[in-house]
């Protein structure tokens, strides 16, 4: 064990309005398994993407086996020996396992012909060597692979010639217990081979079992570098949590008696038996890991995704919502998480984007005048302090925070009884964040019911009257504001809560 195989020196990365990672220094020794843990947005993915060359880093440097690979491209990082096993591997459906493993790097014969025998031999050898022999056939087509088999393909891609460090991103999310055990065996073998291993997972018990060291990230800053044998899960969680809201926001007590949304025994592709209520003037926060099904729940309620069974009552009346237009007719508004892909028409004006959901309400006999569109949304553009030189400017030319405010203006103009906000302050600058919080508070005071999906712990704790945590297709009992602590929420979200 001489010099470390991977050394990260003072690495930092910023995005508009967020410092995703700063001042991270750490090493991985040969034959060492280092786990990275942290909440959503703590900087784990950013780190992996920097190492894999997907992101350029802003500060610091990365040394692989003593050689600097900063400002790497994905290809350069790969050649230098860093390999990432992605959570959702890209598998080409119509080519074989062997070809999928060698894609982009087919062994050649003279005249540019692919050397199929060599490729098959290499893959067979690798399958045997890493204990996957018999689990997947080298001639199987990509489309026929199970999630676990896809994972094997992705792992073998990573382990081809010249590998020095392998990073696993949530490797067990699609694996059964048995398969997870097999993965552990593989990782231990890689350790014996003298590779550096990075293991990123939300599942703390796995981290405790497999890793030698644990690095804890919070808001892009390392808060702990612990030897696994000398620590426990509760200690790790305590290092992950404890963030403060930038502007300590205090909400007024506004919950009224009237129940606006009542969901009973809802089932869908993503959910088992979900029941909850949101009352007028109440903000209910939905916590959980990315991928726990919160966004899907919002889309099921909004009619974008299909509900299999269960009832949804709006204002006490059972309501059939089969499409977003049904939802809007039932006085529901929905500001999606990914505003560029799902929220906004980037090539159209601020007025059009803000008034889209009320076109039919504003029109007489289908005629829609510019003047009416403007007077319907101008008050909200002003109230939200949307900074735009003109109402006719294309929304794509506004900054992120102002774009988000345009989405909010749309739903203010529609004046719904229930407003669903999915990650309302994602990629929004600090000033705009505070304004969005103020607005949410004001809307609640006026009696709007708000369902807020958020991965920002401080935001959940400060803004929610009650918090519901989603984990593994179901939801927790609501946690009242006074009882809500970050530890309690994280424990439920990670599935480590003692029931």
């Amino acid at each position: 064990m001489s010099s470390p195989i991977l050394e990260i020196r003072d690495v930092g990365k910023s995005f508009p309005g967020v410092k995703a990672l700063s001042g991270l220094s750490m090493t991985v020794a040969r034959g060492e398994i280092v786990a990275f843990v942290g909440e959503n947005g703590a900087g784990k993915s950013t780190l992996l993407k920097i190492l894999s060359g997907d992101y350029e880093l802003d500060e610091g440097s990365v040394l692989l086996d003593g050689a600097e690979v900063s400002h790497a491209s994905p290809l350069e990082a790969r050649h230098a020996g860093f390999r990432l096993v992605r959570q959702e591997p890209e598998i080409v459906p119509d080519i074989s396992v062997a070809e999928n493993i060698f894609i982009g790097e087919y062994p050649r014969r003279s005249g540019g012909r692919v050397n199929f025998p060599l490729m098959r031999q290499t893959v067979t050898d690798m399958l045997k060597r890493y204990g996957f022999y018999g689990l997947v056939s080298i001639d199987q087509l990509g489309r026929t692979l199970s999630p676990a088999q896809m994972h094997i393909v992705e792992i073998l891609r990573a382990l081809k010639d010249g590998v020095k460090v392998v990073a696993f991103d949530e490797p067990t999310s699609s694996l059964t217990m048995d398969e997870t055990e097999r993965l552990y065996e593989l990782i231990r073998q890689l350790k014996l081979d003298g590779l550096g291993v990075i293991y990123v997972s939300h599942r703390l018990h796995e981290v405790m079992e497999i890793s030698d060291r644990v690095v804890v990230l919070k808001d892009g800053v390392p808060t702990g570098d612990l030897v696994t044998n000398e620590t426990d899960e509760q200690r790790i969680i305590s290092l992950m949590v404890g963030r403060e809201l930038e502007h300590g926001f205090k909400r007024a007590e506004t919950t009224r008696d009237e129940v606006v949304l009542e969901v009973e025994n809802l089932r869908s592709r993503w959910h088992n038996d979900i029941s909850f209520q949101i009352r007028a003037g109440e903000i209910v926060g939905f916590a959980g890991l990315v991928g726990a099904g919160r966004t899907e729940l919002a889309k099921v309620l909004f009619g974008e995704f299909e509900k299999q069974s269960g009832t949804v009552k709006i204002g006490g009346e059972e309501t059939q919502i089969r499409s977003p237009s049904d939802a809007i007719a039932a006085n529901i508004g929905f500001a999606p998480e990914n505003r560029k892909a799902e929220g906004l028409i980037l090539v159209r004006s601020v007025i059009e984007n803000a008034s889209m959901a009320v076109y039919s309400k504003l029109a007489k006999w289908g005629i829609l005048r510019n003047r009416e569109m403007i007077s319907a949304v101008a008050p909200f553009v002003r109230q939200l302090e949307i900074k735009t030189p003109s109402m006719t400017l294309e929304v794509g030319k506004l900054s992120g925070g102002n774009q988000q405010k345009v989405v909010l203006a749309r739903w203010l103009a529609a004046n719904p009884k229930l407003l669903i906000l999915d990650e309302p302050t994602r990629a929004v600058d600090v000033g705009a964040k505070a304004e969005i919080y103020r607005l949410m508070d004001e809307l609640a005071q006026q009696g709007m019911a708000i369902m807020m999906i958020s991965s920002e712990m401080p935001e959940l704790l400060a803004m929610s009257d009650r918090i519901i945590v989603m984990h593994d297709r179901v939801i927790s009992d609501p946690i009242e504001k006074k009882d809500a602590t970050e530890e309690a929420i994280v424990n439920i979200a990670l599935g480590t809560a003692v029931a």
């Binding site: 508009p16 309005g17 909004f302 974008e304 499409s323 977003p324 237009s325 939802a327 809007i328 007719a329 929905f334 999606p336 892909a341 799902e342 929220g343 906004l344 028409i345 980037l346 090539v347 159209r348 059009e352 889209m356 959901a357 076109y359 039919s360 029109a363 289908g366 005629i367 829609l368 005048r369 510019n370 003047r371 403007i374 007077s375 101008a378 008050p379 909200f380 002003r382 109230q383 900074k387 735009t388 109402m391 294309e394 794509g396 030319k397 506004l398 900054s399 992120g400 102002n402 749309r410 203010l412 600058d429 004001e442 006026q446």
Partner: protein, 350 residues
Amino acid sequence: MTTTANDQHSANTESIGKRMMHAIGAENLSLIIALVLMVALIATQTEFFFSARNLFNIAQNMAVVGLIAVGMTLVIVSAGLDISVGSIAGCASVVCALVVVSTGSVLGGIAMSLCVGLVLGAVNATIISILRVNPVVATLATFSAFRGVAFLIAPGGRPIGVLDPTFAQLGSGRLFRVGEFPGIPIAFVILVVVAIAAHLVMRSTVFGRSIYSMGGNPVAARLAGINLTRMRFYIYAISGALSGLAGAIVTARTSSGQPASGTQGLELEAITAVFLGGALLAGGKGTIVGSMLAVLLLATLSNGMNLLGIPTFYQLVAKGLLLVLAVAIGQWRMARSERVQARLTATGGQ
């Protein structure tokens, strides 16, 4: 919420010059300049160009492509494409001739061409929306199929002669023909009426506004309550109906129901015009005014090349180049606005 009464936008106080500019659209200015330059160039080469007869010839020639380009504007703004328009016009032309010949009713013939277009457009929408076939592939398929249908319904696959003088007015009739003044072509008047109506629909109706929304981002449009399937039905049906009307005009002008001749290549001209008029391939952008200016530009170009004796083959090459140029300009505009956005995001500016 504090809503004040004087929330009227400053639009009311804009100067007349600005308002005119707004009506034409700044993005159409380059089209007008190109048109003026081209006219100047042609006029120096041939005196005949500026004669009233020639100008009204251009107007008459515009009508068929123009009507199709109106529908095509709706389709392209909604992020679709309709390659089958020429074939729809062919079907409509044949049906129109059959109806006029057999019943003697001119109005019946025109109404039937509209209906044929409407139905075939709805067939396109069904293939795209219900069978989920990409619009380019779907209408490429019906481009072939509808042309085949046109030949099948024409007895023996041959043109059907129509010798009704009233009906011929639709093709070559003139309004206000006095003395030396050759009169305004009726077909051109129809185009102007249709284009103005379409312009108003696109600008000031829920339907028109929703076309821009769905073209710019179908997911966001759906999440804002727009029914994309229904919209597509209307859009392709309108495109079909206008193609049908264009087919009727072709029938009247050639005095025969034509399965192919006169309606072939219309899709290329209409699509070129719409892109040249400022529409984006990705959808969400484009105006009737722009498309009509581009149709005028193309008709003038074609007329000029004929007057100057440039052979048809060169004209075909020129049309192809124009389509590439039109889309390339659109892509360049998009790239430029993306750079602006990237710069804004990078600086976190407003």
